[in-house]
């Protein structure tokens, strides 16, 4: 093995990795069971393949592809928020109905009080923050298990929602801005513009990092690998943009439908922000620490209670955005908004993506990938034309299959390694 040995600033001997050694290392890690989100992505591909074969004409159409995003927005947002709560080993059963309540706050302000969207949306988000604060204080300060607190909240919010909707009315919204959030599309120019911006931004960050670490003589990823990553992202994003900027209307004569759904950049921005917070800030580090070993975190002087409260705030805040988006999509809110299987789906999304229910392990992007798995299942099932009973059964089976890909991949890996 010929490795170039460089001396870094600290005076420590280190090995400068080459592209080959990097790939070897990655493969070693994969064989060693450190798979990251690979299995979930694999599961996603398998699912896409299955549905693609079964319903090739529709599942793989641009229209359906665009629909996927708008359909999954609520679950993805709640799941992203839940990742924070799960990272601490807590649970928030009330996130679904919290999103319903926040959606209702917005709808009531818009429709019943005639307020503009720039009042109604912040109000809904504020409602989310207040809800989270309440839950967090009960859990952190009184020490009631979060399962019980949020079970109580699950019931309570259901009641609040019913009461807000005067016992069960639907409230329609007509505000075009709000409706466009989860129904509208970006123009073709904006679509391409944002895609290019994203790729350029990513490239900038990656290259800058290599440069600055290299300047301090710390080990960097080989430039080949970095370029490969940037290229990969570019190909993916541009392909998706190309598909989404095609005409996909059912009847193009009546109505043109093209461009990236507005909800895509919304999801992307949320994902980037929260990934940044978790991965690159002190706060995020402390969340992992408290989730990994609360006692160690406390001994390190981390304000455990405040962290605990904050994750509930983040979760409910994200749920409020999920609520806003689902109300936007349905253009109405009803007492079941945020009910049904939304919560279980959201937790499932986070867990499928690789977040542990015991805390300390998980990433925001996992929630997005897991949410995509759930959305694809739901979406594909909708195309298959099963009866209700069959649909439930197949959804369960497909979910299980997607999760087994993950489990088996990790198992195989750990059999050869640790």
């Amino acid at each position: 093995m010929t490795t170039t040995t460089t001396t870094t600033a600290g005076g420590i001997q280190a090995v400068k990795p080459t592209v080959a050694s990097h790939i070897r290392d990655y493969w070693g890690r994969v064989r060693g069971g450190d798979l990251g989100s690979l299995p979930a992505v694999l599961g996603l591909l398998v699912l896409a393949l299955i549905f693609g074969v079964a319903r090739s004409d529709t599942f793989l159409s641009a229209l359906n592809f665009a629909n996927l995003f708008t359909q999954s927005a609520q679950v993805v947002f709640i799941a992203m928020g839940l990742v924070f709560v799960l990272l601490l080993g807590e649970i928030d059963l009330s996130a679904g109905f919290a999103s319903g309540v926040c959606g209702a706050v917005m709808a009531i302000l818009l429709t019943n009080h005639g307020l503009p969207w720039y009042v109604a949306i912040p109000a809904a988000m504020l409602a989310g923050i207040v809800i989270g604060l309440m839950l967090g204080v009960l859990v952190a300060k009184l020490g009631i298990p979060s399962f019980v607190v949020t079970l109580a909240a699950f019931l309570g919010f259901q009641g609040v929602l019913l009461t807000m909707l005067k016992g069960g009315q639907n409230i329609s919204i007509t505000d075009e801005f709000v409706k466009s959030l989860n129904n509208g599309n970006l123009s073709t120019a904006w679509s391409w513009g944002l895609a290019i911006l994203a790729v350029v931004g990513y490239a900038g960050i990656q290259l800058n990092r290599v440069r600055s670490r290299a300047a301090r003589n710390l080990i960097t990823d080989p430039i080949g690998i970095v370029l490969f990553r940037i290229g990969g992202l570019a190909v993916l994003l541009f392909a998706a943009t190309a598909v989404l900027t095609q005409e996909r209307a059912i009847n193009p004569a009546i109505n043109s439908l093209k461009g990236v759904p507005i909800v895509v950049p919304i999801i992307a921005i949320a994902m980037i922000i929260w990934s940044f917070v978790l991965g690159r800030t002190t706060y995020g580090r402390h969340v992992y620490a408290v989730g990994g070993n609360t006692e160690a975190a406390r001994r390190a002087g981390i304000p455990v209670d405040r962290i605990r409260i904050s994750v509930f705030v983040i979760c409910s805040f994200m749920a409020s955005i999920g609520g806003i988006l689902v109300v936007s999509r349905a253009s109405s809110v009803d007492p079941n908004t945020g009910g049904s299987n939304i919560l279980l789906y959201s937790v499932g999304a986070a867990v499928i993506g690789g977040t542990s229910l015991f805390g300390g392990k998980g990433k925001v992007i996992n929630a997005v990938i897991g949410g995509a798995v759930i959305a694809v299942i739901d979406n594909g099932m909708g195309l298959m034309g099963f009866s209700s009973g069959q649909k439930y059964i197949f959804t369960g089976l497909v979910l299980l299959a997607a999760a087994s890909v993950d489990a088996l991949a990790r198992r195989r890996a750990s059999a050869t390694g640790s």
Partner: protein, 347 residues
């Protein structure tokens, strides 16, 4: 040693020993907004007016709770029990218990099969479905659509009423399918009557089958969910959608032409009929209003009934609902719909 003394904490001071208490159990808040908004109000008002103490509760779609509430009412000594069953099985269990305790029973809105309730007050749910089917046909005819593909967006698979509605519209539409005049499109149940899921389901239907030309949605909420998807594709108004319950949202959709029709059940009539019966029974009188009768298809026994007719509402007669006081003009004719309201003659 217990239960014989009836509660005296009601707001009616007139509850003498001869006037008993009435218990009403409503089914849920999800299958329709009516239970929490309309029935509760009308029944409360009627009982209050008659000075009869009433305990009205909602089982929130939970069968176990339904029974728990019934147990509670029976043990609190009600004299009349009015139930809207969640399913015939639990309904029957409750009715049996009530009868064993010597309580008069009324099936409200839904007949408990083989339950043997003393009275039955209802809109005919199959009839509701028939109106929906007919309404859709009328709209399609009016739009001169030939060989339309019709999609079904049914109610919750676990709700027996959804089955009855479907039985109704199927009976109207099936001949059209059979004759090849219409084509049957996708047919899906919406779990829990969940509008969001309904929207996704319909979106998937439309993706699969791009020439859906008519949507039979089981209620206004689901209708609205379908309309939102159609709107995205600028197909709203061209593809007729049905509904039920005459909700504000549904009526507004009807007014602007996005929704073909809704079914209005004059719930006040139904509530009044039921409360009249209950009040008479509570006062120990023999009720006279139950003139009709219906045969329980399972036990083959006759049940004394008050049967009411649901009404089909299109743009032309939306104002009937307002006139009836079921919705107010203020609720309905908000800024966005003011013009449509005027056009429809609501002022």
């Amino acid at each position: 040693a217990c239960g014989s003394e009836s509660g005296s904490d009601g707001d009616s001071g007139s509850s003498g020993s001869s006037v008993g208490k009435v218990g009403v159990i409503l089914p849920d808040t999800k299958s329709s907004a009516r239970w929490a908004t309309a029935d509760l109000k009308y029944l409360t008002d009627a009982f209050k007016a008659a000075g009869v103490e009433a305990d009205i509760q909602n089982a929130q779609g939970d069968k176990t709770q339904f029974q728990t509430i019934a147990d509670g009412m029976i043990s609190s000594g009600v004299k009349v029990l009015v139930i809207v069953n969640l399913d015939s099985g639990t309904g029957k269990a409750v009715l049996d218990k009530a009868k064993a305790a010597g309580i008069a029973t009324i099936d409200y809105d839904r007949l408990t099969l083989n339950g043997g309730a003393d009275y039955y007050v209802s809109f005919d749910n199959v009839e509701v479905g028939k109106l929906q089917g007919q309404g859709l046909i009328d709209c399609l005819t009016e739009k001169k659509v030939t060989k339309p593909v019709v999609a079904y967006l049914n109610g919750s698979p676990t709700d027996n009423n959804a089955t009855l509605f479907k039985e109704g519209y199927d009976s109207i539409l099936k001949p059209k399918f059979d004759s090849g005049e219409y084509t049957k499109g996708p047919d899906q149940d919406v779990p829990d009557w969940d509008n969001v899921q309904g929207g996704t389901l319909f979106e998937q239907m439309l993706t699969t089958n791009k020439d859906i030309k008519g949507v039979l949605a089981a209620n206004d909420g689901l209708g609205n969910a379908a309309i939102q998807v159609l709107k995205k594709n600028k197909l709203n108004g061209q593809v007729p959608v049905t509904g039920q319950d005459a909700t504000v949202q549904g009526l507004q959709n009807v007014l602007v032409g996005d929704q073909c029709m809704t079914v209005y059940k004059a719930i006040k009539q139904e509530a009044d009929a039921a409360s009249e019966l209950a009040i008479a029974l509570a006062k120990g009188q023999a009720p006279t209003s139950a003139t009709g009768s219906i045969t329980d298809p399972e036990s083959k026994k006759d049940v004394k009934s008050v049967l009411l007719k649901p009404q089909s509402i299109t743009k032309a007669n939306v104002k009937d609902v307002v006139t009836d006081g079921f919705v107010t003009k203020e609720e309905l004719c908000t800024a966005d719909f003011a013009k449509a309201c005027t056009d429809a003659g609501i002022s």
